[in-house]
Symmetry: C2
Subunit: 397 residues, 2 copies
């Protein structure tokens, strides 16, 4: 497939398939907010509202409005989702609940800081789209609350007994490395710089372990390896997603060394995570090849493949490394053969190891309007970037 | 296969394969307690100690000592496990931790009341075996603590926002219906009767829903159906395990009506849960055929099949219903073709939908020395019972 065909595919899938699917099926006209539990054809099969998925959809529609086209209907969808979230999403301390019922009443407490991370992203983009200060204030207050909670993100909901085995997790530094650029326009530049430095340090020097040449999900507080279920866990999709966030930060700082290091680690992770028997990237692996705790370890998830595609495309656009292009083509091929549902639109989310659909859904508790459209947007734009560079012969094969 | 062959298989697997496997591989001579994370050949791949699995192994070895043979080495194993647990297992309020590290330091808080349930069972059996009052006191104190916590088993670790959707869960009444007989010898008879009545009522009238002819995992506080992920969840193995507990309670009370009702529901559940395409019983199903939340929904787990076998054997022994025997043979055939590892001993725990081994382990965070030996013991004894009844022609084909 040539570059123009790739560009058309990513662009058209975004604008003619995926976004229309969510516009048609996910809007709750009765209570506000979005349905994310959509079956194969787009019917709502459950009405619970998972706050991080609500936030992610606000982000997606605001982002498209900001970066693709000033379509009023996109902005209206984002504003309506934010209205529901502003009214129902937080407890008295400003922490974002994990989930709400259809009417907006809290179901699950703010035990998980990822609701807050995606709330900050959503309100940051919506502020950009509207200039409405109220959105900006929510984004900033939420961001500071995240920083405040970052040393103990689960707080009273943590089940770990303090002191016996204190581990630090990869998720928060990873998300912060993306979030900080998302809401840079709202933050004190000193805080932006500190957060970026800290995020790069954690991803590249702490969770990335040079001797293993892999990114770990959990390490001791001093950064050393923990030979435990948590410590041995590798989530290749997480690592690849984090590395394209790092590439974005490196571009901002013009840091070629950091770009090259990120690309080199990404190539190692995708090779490590690839299922040589059936294709696709595993969900979880144990660094020592011991049995992982996660029963779903061998499944092939949409977001893992979507983020891997973005990572390889950015790596190629930034370095011209042909290994990145080769992996992009291999990932693209697997992904487009397995995930998109050409009959009913959008992508399936969960395949078994052999690549057969495991759950006949387009959205659920963990899949919403986010990874697929973001990947299609990022893929489209990065492919255009690659084409432009090729035409100006900066990139040599 | 004739009855004698079945009897030999269950007995010999228990005494010559499974119990020796755990005796050889699971004893931590250095710190006490047991290793449960054992790989295919029995090597320890992780040293964390999950309290409910520790308790279950104490129970298994005490039970064998009480019911099969007064082997000192079995009793010694149980006593050593209990010593580790007595020293390290509880917080100041007497709640049992979820997990400990190898040395016995608490890792995960007592967020889960199942540690306590299996502690009460373990110390109850060990008291029976030794007559040591200290064990009896721990069993009784733990049992009363369970009753005290039963209306809010997760306590401060619950993530549910109070009031929006209060559901009651099936696990605790199900376990209580077994636990109460296990430690009957230690309890006030009034409490025993009350607990049995309440457990039977909850299993047979509340979680069993007549219109669906199925047992649900979660219902509203008033017993009505909740059309939510939690409310729609069916766990066929759970239902079948609970129903043989109910059969045991019915035998104690000579309640033929209850026996027949339990058998009839069990036959419905096993039919419902059976995978018509690949054989075996699904782990989770959605009552309305919507996508379940559990990514592992289609996997075939050892304990589900083990408990289903016991349920069908007891059903047959008690009623002579040929449908029970037919299902026993079908379950036996699937189970013995897929789970036992004839090369290295014991059973694999986790198969994918097609019946291939998903995790090359004999034990882990959730699988220990419990369901397999209990099933082999219960199978052996129930098959002997069936043989005896056949010989005395009480059971007519």
């Amino acid at each position: 497939m040539n570059l123009d065909n790739y560009i058309s595919l990513y662009r058209n899938s975004l604008l003619e398939d995926v976004i229309p699917f969510w516009m048609k099926n996910s809007i709750d006209e009765e209570y506000g907010g979005y349905f994310t539990c959509l079956d194969t054809v787009g019917n709502v099969y459950d009405t619970d509202k998972f706050v991080w998925l609500q936030c992610r959809q606000v982000w997606t529609f605001s982002m498209l409005y900001n970066r693709v086209e000033k379509k009023q209907e996109w902005l209206d969808i984002a504003i309506k989702g934010a209205a529901f979230l502003t009214k129902n999403g937080r407890d008295k301390e400003g922490n974002w609940y994990f989930s709400l019922n259809q009417q907006g009443k809290p179901l699950v407490q703010p035990y998980n800081i990822f609701s807050d991370c995606f709330a900050a992203m959503a309100y940051g983009q919506l502020y950009k789209a509207t200039g409405n200060k109220a959105y900006g204030e929510i984004a900033v207050a939420t961001f500071h609350n995240i920083l405040k909670r970052s040393s103990d993100p689960k707080g009273i909901y943590s089940k770990a007994f303090p002191g016996t085995r204190n581990l630090q997790g990869f998720s928060l530094p990873m998300i912060l490395s993306n979030l900080v650029l998302e809401i840079e326009h709202l933050l004190d530049p000193v805080i932006v710089d500190d957060t970026i430095k800290q995020a790069i340090h954690l991803v590249m020097n702490v969770f990335y372990q040079e001797d293993l040449n892999l990114i770990l999900e959990n390490v001791h507080m001093d950064g050393s390896f923990s030979d435990t279920f948590e410590g041995r866990t590798i989530n290749p999709g997480h690592g690849l997603e984090a590395l394209w966030f790092i590439m974005d930060l490196a571009v901002r700082d013009n840091d070629v060394t950091l770009i090259n290091k990120a690309v080199s680690i990404a190539l190692q992770i995708v090779e490590y995570g690839w299922d040589k028997a059936h294709g696709g990237i595993f969900y979880f692996l144990d660094q020592q090849n011991k049995p992982p705790q996660q029963l779903e370890w061998d499944q092939k998830l949409w977001w893992v493949h979507a983020e891997a595609i973005v990572c390889m495309l950015k790596g190629y656009a930034l370095t011209g490394n042909p290994a990145c292009w080769k992996w992009f083509e291999q990932l693209h091929d697997y992904t487009w053969r397995h995930f998109p549902d050409t009959a009913n639109g959008e992508w399936f989310g969960y395949l078994n190891r052999e690549g057969r659909v495991l759950l006949p859904l387009k959205g659920g508790k963990w899949k919403g309007c986010f990874h697929v459209p973001r990947t299609l947007y990022q893929g489209w734009k990065t492919l255009e970037d690659i084409k432009m560079k090729k035409e100006s012969t900066v990139l040599q094969k």
